[in-house]
């Protein structure tokens, strides 16, 4: 088991599966568990097929330069977005993601009880949240091990699914923002590391792979500092 791959994949997948579960739960109250679960399963099968197809295509001998560059850029696209969202929420610039609100929003969309619309909402919700998981599984799987990244995503799905079935309510207690902060810092680190190495060549990072933990600390610490700075003017105004 490659823990440097499994841990970020598990954490990122947990956040996404919680969001997907909230949508499926809301839909299930309108069209029933069987139909909503079927829609979720159909989306998960599409994602599994995408993962297998991508893995097969990438093992056919694509140049390591292009592989590293494309994956690095995707992780950057993804990581900066996650880290920025976490910073904005930590600083109070953006409201924290509220699973209960998401649940009510999805329920409101289904007030007419349209079965096919409900099925589509559950399918699309799981597919779109799962796309982010797919990207991380593929990106980290190529450089680490497929078993670790795919296994961690499946483990997260089982944990969230089991917790959801027990609670039967939106999983609002998952510390989504804290997880997003840590995973955002990790993904930006992988993205920065691989993109620069692809463009600049091997040996561009002092200390080689040991630069990665340093980058994670830099981005996590820097993100916290940014959140503190962004929050300060509001605090000062509030104390006046």
């Amino acid at each position: 088991m490659d823990w440097t791959v499994a841990v970020p994949t598990f954490l990122a997948a947990t956040v996404e599966w919680v969001e997907a579960f909230t949508i499926v739960l809301a839909v299930s109250l309108t069209i029933g568990w069987r139909a909503a679960g079927g829609a979720a399963l159909a989306a998960l099968l599409v994602l599994a097929a995408m993962t297998v197809a991508t893995g097969g295509a990438l093992s056919l001998g694509v140049s390591i330069f292009w592989l590293q560059l494309v994956i690095g850029v995707f992780l950057l696209l993804f990581g900066v977005r996650w880290l920025a969202k976490a910073v904005a929420r930590h600083a109070g610039l953006k409201a924290p993601h509220d699973e209960a609100e998401e649940f009510e929003h999805t329920r409101a969309q289904l007030t007419r009880g349209d079965r096919s619309a409900g099925w589509l909402i559950a399918f699309k919700g799981v597919l779109l949240e799962g796309l982010e998981v797919w990207l991380i599984v593929v990106a980290l799987g190529i450089h680490g091990s497929w078993a670790s990244s795919a296994g961690a995503a499946i483990a997260a799905l089982l944990v969230v699914g089991a917790a959801g079935l027990v609670v039967r309510a939106p999983l609002a207690r998952v510390p989504e923002n804290a997880i997003k902060f840590v995973v955002g810092a990790m993904i930006v680190s992988f993205g920065t590391f691989w993109t620069l190495e692809a463009i600049g060549g091997p040996g561009v990072w002092p200390g080689g792979d040991w630069s990665l933990p340093g980058l994670v600390v830099f981005y996590a610490g820097g993100g916290l500092l940014l959140a503190t700075i962004a929050r300060r003017p509001v605090t000062m105004r509030a104390t006046r």
């Binding site: 850029v73 696209l77 904005a88 600083a91 620069l196 463009i199 002092p206 962004a230």
Partner: protein
């Protein structure tokens, strides 16, 4: 389709930040200063995160 594209690539701001980062990495590499990227890119990335956080 737009939700699919947005999930994968983010919005125009997100794309712009990453495009600038890749452009700087490429410029440094062509100028023969790729090693300087290890010290330039992380702070630049954090600056991009700060811009996106305020959007």
């Amino acid at each position: 389709m737009s939700a699919f594209v947005k999930t994968l690539f983010g919005d125009a701001w997100n794309l712009s930040v990453v495009a600038i980062l890749v452009a700087v990495m490429t410029a440094l590499s062509f100028a023969g200063h790729a090693n300087a990227g290890a010290f330039v890119i992380p702070p630049l990335t954090l600056a991009g995160v700060a811009v996106l956080a305020r959007k």
